[in-house]
């Protein structure tokens, strides 16, 4: 067999092993998938729960330091995940300021790292979403007697497609994240091994089939969540 033949065979073998692991219900594979889903869901909910109201405040109010806050948020979008992981490692390590929580090498630490990475996305994109809403919507709500919360809800309903995109982007960030999860999670089998960190490990150990199977499951997971969000968006049309 020539070199090219061996390379094709290597890939085909990888896909065959991936199919066998997925079909056979491999506990490591599905354990990592379940953990990834749990971590991504928790981090997305927290990041959007904090980031979307912050985005509303940044877009809707003129206050001292607003411009600086926007610069900060936009800069945070470009921070590498490993840098976030490194800083969080320092904070959560035994000698760090939050060492007492004993969260280092737990799934909670991965959630915190993912929240830090997804938060700037949620803030920046939701601020852009709110700024994209016709200003007459807010004025109409206010002149009809709506209070602050009803007005915000009315604006959010008008920006629902853009806000759904915020959730999708935040989920995409956290489900694909590997650098911070590796550093603060430790990639411990059965405890903090997410799909992405398992892919990294499988590739490093030469188990291409396992890595490929994990990648396929990760893609399927992302596809399923995005499809669900798309269905929700479709229901929200005028």
């Amino acid at each position: 067999m020539d070199d090219r033949g061996r390379r094709v065979d290597f890939l085909a073998e990888g896909f065959r092993r991936a199919a066998a692991l997925i079909a056979g219900g491999d506990p490591d594979l599905y354990g990592s998938a379940a953990l990834s889903l749990r971590v991504a869901a928790a981090a997305t909910i927290i990041a959007c729960g904090l980031g979307i109201p912050a985005g509303f405040a940044l877009a809707g109010r003129r206050f001292w330091g607003r411009r600086a806050a926007l610069v900060l948020v936009n800069t945070a979008l470009a921070v590498p995940t490993v840098v976030v992981g490194l800083l969080l490692y320092g904070v959560l390590s035994r000698r760090g300021p939050l060492g007492g929580l004993e969260w280092l090498y737990t799934w909670q630490a991965i959630v915190v790292g993912d929240v830090l990475l997804a938060l700037p996305i949620a803030v920046a994109l939701s601020a852009a979403a709110v700024e994209g809403v016709d200003p007459r919507v807010r004025r109409t709500a206010l002149t009809l007697g709506a209070g602050r919360w009803r007005t915000a809800w009315t604006v959010a309903r008008e920006a629902r497609f853009a806000l759904m995109a915020v959730v999708t982007a935040a989920f995409g960030q956290v489900v694909a994240e590997v650098g911070a999860a590796m550093i603060v999670g430790g990639n411990i089998r059965g405890e903090t091994r997410t799909l992405t960190t398992a892919v990294a490990l499988g590739t490093a150990q030469g188990d291409f089939g396992l890595a490929l199977a994990l990648g396929v499951v990760l893609l399927a997971l992302a596809l399923a969540v995005n499809a669900a969000l798309q269905v929700l968006q479709g229901r929200g049309r005028d």
Binding site: D134, R136, V137, R139, T140, A141, L142, T143, L144, G145, A146, G147, R150, T154, R157, E158, D238
Partner: protein, 334 residues
């Protein structure tokens, strides 16, 4: 009822409103007229408490409106914008919005929605969504939505801009009924003078953010020269040259009060420094007791107010030659 005091409002460095005093008394029917960019929409937004004046204060029933009072007063003053927007949902949802914000629920809300829809003739539209409506329908629904909320003061920005004649009359009737039933205060901004005269009994003119001391016809934005002869300056307005007695120079608004224009069929030997010849373009009786408005192109379009008897005697009709005379001292500068 609602009042602006010592208000100066700026967008950046640009002064857009300068109103030492402006008040809407309870039950009044006020029209604000002025050219595009005169500050009409900004004034309405300040009255609706949607913008805070850069300087000065807004008062409601004699009390300064600040802090938490802003939300309370907003529930009594509602603005319908020039190009109103409908919120997500059906027309029925839109009509119910202001009521829901006031905590009105159940049958009371349904009754109020049905009443407002009936008054503005939008009952057949109740189940429709905003994408299924024409601009005129959106405007009517927006007025119905504002009335359904039951405000004490209704502010309308160019309410006839997207409506046909029948819809405008329907809107007028609905507002009159509302005023008769519960003493609603109405203030509308319009650039259509005839509508403003018909709809209001208190006409105010904005020019470059300031209230004009005279009626809205014959206003011109000019640049006055620095020097004149014995205080008389000559300013070109359109194809006409107007003599003005003033000390001022630079940017200013000229106002020729329509009641100060003498209308004749031929030039007269008078002290008036301005004698402009042209042809009548329009003759309109705007309201009983307000005289007849004769508009002529005399190098620039000017309107004079004369009696019906004068119209008959001079046979004033579109196309007829005419001379407009007025003194240099009659021209107001502000």
């Amino acid at each position: 009822m609602i009042e602006l005091r010592d208000v100066r409002h700026r967008y950046g460095d640009r002064l857009v409103l300068d109103l030492p005093a402006f008040a809407l008394p309870a039950g009044a029917r006020v029209a604000i007229v002025g050219h595009n960019g005169a500050g009409k929409s900004t004034l309405l937004r300040l009255l609706a408490l949607l913008e805070a004046p850069t300087e000065g204060v807004v008062l409601f029933d004699g009390h300064a409106v600040t802090g938490r009072a802003i939300g309370r007063v907003r529930r009594r003053v509602t603005l319908v914008e020039q190009r109103p927007i409908l919120l997500r949902g059906t027309v029925r949802d839109n009509l119910a919005y202001g009521l829901a914000a006031r905590g009105v629920r159940g049958a009371a809300r349904e009754r109020a929605v049905a009443g407002a829809a009936e008054r503005l003739g939008v009952v057949p539209l109740l189940g429709r969504r905003r994408t299924e409506l024409s601009d005129g329908e959106v405007q009517r629904v927006a007025v119905a939505r504002a009335l359904a909320a039951g405000p004490d003061v209704l502010l309308l920005d160019e309410p006839a801009s997207s409506a046909d004649r029948a819809a405008v009359l329907g809107l007028h009737d609905a507002l009159e009924r509302e005023r008769a039933e519960r003493g609603l205060t109405v203030c509308l901004a319009s650039h259509q003078l005839e509508d403003a005269y018909r709809w209001s009994d208190d006409l105010r003119t904005l020019a470059d953010g300031r209230l004009s001391p005279v009626t809205p016809e014959n206003l011109f934005r000019v640049s006055l020269p620095a020097d004149g002869t014995e205080g008389v300056k000559h300013v070109r307005v359109g194809r006409a040259e107007i003599a003005v007695l003033t000390e001022r120079s630079g940017h200013a608004i000229l106002a020729v009060p329509p009641t100060d224009i003498l209308v004749s069929a031929a030039p007269l030997a008078t002290s008036a420094r301005n004698q402009l010849s042209g042809h009548v373009s329009r003759v309109a009786r705007v309201r009983s007791g307000a005289g007849v408005h004769v508009t002529a192109d005399v190098g620039v379009e000017l309107t004079a107010v004369v009696t019906a008897e004068a119209v008959r005697e001079l046979a004033l009709a579109p196309g007829r030659p005419v001379v407009f005379s007025f003194k240099a001292s009659a021209v107001r500068v502000f």
